[in-house]
């Protein structure tokens, strides 16, 4: 108790003056606003009436409120809902697969007595300094593995990253006592069993970290779609938004047009706001989730930065 008051006393004494603090607060308020404004702009455009946008243009704060874009998505946005489904599926499958592949490798190269430890450590390490480049990867994935226009093209190439494997290895090595694994070995447990019923349950922090990296990575990926996906039925939300940026009319395609012609649909559809509504579908889950998971990110980033 005494120590506490002494420390807070010191803290009160040893700090910047009030005017400097006010200046810093002002600077950070401006910076923070600059970082959040884009989301607000996108949200307000998606909520603005289409005819208003056509007349006066985009605005930072919504002036003529309207939920037409969202109503349109709910009613006729087959394409958008399909893309949402692809995004969710890719993110879920990719994250689970990626966590399994990453943690098993991380665990194996963290075992000091394992015979192939050095070999596998090199396998993980070499791609960090050298890679085959985009062209050759592209041809391997399309011509050799036949991933073009399949959902696996969005999942497999992103599943493992050496950075994540090293984070896992560092975690296992520093937090799991050797005695624990040895005692499981003495009890006759197989390595798979040790891994699933002893290691994984006590490694939840690192699983959360890797899972979050992968989850946000898959959700935000558009590059794989750009390379490998031509079939619009396999578009993720990111790929859809990307194609809408060049051609918003595409939204009308594939929609349930009961007795309505394509041209009519294009004319009546809230193009501008619907496009931004797709962006909101992408951003909103991320923006709502990341503040809660921030600490797992921080722990992962700091492990990774301290010893890559």
């Amino acid at each position: 108790m005494a120590k506490r008051t002494y420390q807070s006393g010191l803290e009160k004494f040893n700090r910047t003056s009030k005017s400097v603090n006010a200046l810093f607060t002002l600077i950070f308020t401006l910076l923070a606003i600059a970082c959040v404004v884009p989301v607000i702009v996108v949200l307000s455009i998606s909520l603005t009436d289409e005819s208003y946008i056509r007349e006066t243009g985009y605005s930072i704060l919504p002036t003529a409120l309207s939920a037409d874009a969202y109503a349109y998505i709910a009613k006729q946005g087959t394409m958008i809902l399909r893309a949402l489904g692809v995004s969710v599926l890719v993110t879920a499958v990719g994250t689970v697969l990626g966590v399994l592949l990453t943690t098993t490798m991380g665990y194996v190269i963290s075992r000091p007595a394992y015979k192939l430890k050095n070999f596998l450590t090199w396998v993980v390490f070499i791609p960090m300094v050298f890679n085959g480049g985009l062209v050759s990867s592209y041809f391997i994935n399309t011509n050799f593995l036949g991933l073009k226009n399949t959902i696996w093209a969005l999942i497999l190439p992103l599943a493992v990253s050496s950075f994540n494997v090293i984070i896992c290895k560092t975690f296992f090595k520093s937090t799991i006592p050797d005695g624990l694994i040895e005692s499981a070995e003495i009890d006759g447990a197989s390595q798979l069993r040790t891994f699933t019923s002893i290691i994984l349950p006590i490694s939840l922090p690192v699983l959360a970290t890797i899972g979050l990296f992968l989850c946000f990575g898959y959700w935000n990926d558009w590059f794989q779609s750009m390379l490998y996906i031509d079939n619009q039925n396999l578009y993720s939300l990111q790929a859809l938004l990307n194609s809408l940026m060049t051609n918003a009319d595409a939204l009308a395609r594939n929609s349930i047009s009961m007795g309505v012609s394509f041209a009519e649909l294009v004319a009546t559809m809230p193009k501008e706001s619907a496009r931004m509504a797709v962006a909101i579908l992408i951003v909103l889950p991320v923006a709502c989730a990341y503040p809660f998971f921030q600490r797992y990110f921080i722990s992962g980033l700091t492990i990774g930065a301290v010893k890559g």
Binding site: F13, T104, V108, I126, S136, V160
Partner: protein, 316 residues
């Protein structure tokens, strides 16, 4: 006795045990992934020296297509754009590296000096948001600002009595826009790493400094900055090692692939992607080869230099 024990230990080390088999099986799926998605492309790089045609089976294609020696590279370096692209790639990266260290370190120190810890956390969280936005979303936001007929900036220009500007056709502004966006997107990430180090510094250092009458500025200069040195060096090596790589999304998506901006936005990655899409494989594979090899050399030499100066901070 002791020799017997040692012998048994050595035998144990050499002998292949049941555990080794099990661990190998456990690592097998990931090993296969690495072979398919990391090591196979490394061997595929030989297409840079071949007249590669895209059709049918990849492996037999690679083996059968005729060798052309360095012709693809000649083609690449003789094109007028080679030096523009190199200038863009390295020039932008140098600016990104310098600002990407100075600004986050500065803001991390400033945020740690705020009186209210809670406010600091809120600012930090808000500034981390752009890191989670994809370049496609950023490009949509950019469109909302830069679009000619509906953009917010042009509305503002018209409002103050100026002519509206066709932003996607004006190359002179884009270097600043790109630098701003890159810093804007990555600043939260950098701040978090430096801030984590700052909060980990033992508070007794500061107490001792206060007793000796050190000002806040002196504490920052002689305690905080030296304690951050290791992380700064680490981040610096990682960034220098990637000096031949650029963020494709920033240079291609945000600029909407505008041809008028070609001279200020084309980097190696953009070139490779565009060539790949037009199916002129020769030049693309040569450019990708140059990028991979130079990238490998820079990361190893950056690490080597750091090892000479301070062996603890080296990565390898």
């Amino acid at each position: 006795m002791s020799t017997k024990l040692e012998q048994r230990k050595i035998r144990k080390r050499i002998q292949w045990r049941k555990q080794d088999t099990e661990l190998t099986l456990l690592a097998l799926p990931t090993l296969i992934w690495y072979i398919l998605f990391s090591f196979l492309p490394m061997f595929g790089m030989i297409i840079a020296f071949k007249n590669f045609k895209i059709s049918g089976n990849f492996i037999s294609n690679v083996l059968e297509s005729p060798w052309v020696g360095l012709k693809n590279f000649e083609f690449l370096f003789k094109s007028n754009d080679a030096w523009i692209i190199l200038r863009n790639t390295i020039g932008y990266n140098i600016i990104f590296i310098i600002l990407g260290i100075v600004l986050p370190v500065m803001f991390a120190i400033m945020i740690s000096l705020l009186h209210s810890r809670k406010a600091g956390k809120v600012y930090q969280t808000m500034m981390f948001l752009p890191y989670f936005l994809s370049w496609v979303v950023v490009s949509a936001v950019g469109w909302a600002f830069f679009s000619f007929d509906k953009g917010i900036l042009n509305q503002f220009l018209v409002g103050i009595g100026q002519e509206p500007m066709n932003w996607y056709m004006e190359p002179q502004y884009w270097p600043y826009i790109l630098i701003f966006l890159n810093i804007w997107k990555s600043i939260g990430y950098g701040m978090i790493i430096y801030l984590a180090t700052i909060t980990g510094i033992d508070s007794t250092y500061y107490e001792a400094a206060v007793i000796d009458g050190a000002s806040i500025w002196q504490q920052t200069r002689f305690i905080t900055l030296p304690m951050l040195k290791l992380v700064i060096v680490m981040m610096f090596i990682l960034a220098v090692g990637r000096i031949f790589y650029t963020d494709f999304g920033l240079f291609y998506q945000v600029t909407r692939d505008s041809n008028s901006l070609y001279n200020v936005t084309t980097t190696i990655d953009v070139l490779v992607f565009k060539q790949l899409k037009t199916a002129t494989v020769g030049m693309a594979s040569a450019a990708a080869f140059v990028q991979s090899v130079l990238g490998c050399i820079t990361i190893l030499s950056a690490n080597w230099i750091v090892k000479k100066i301070d062996s603890d901070s080296a990565m390898i």
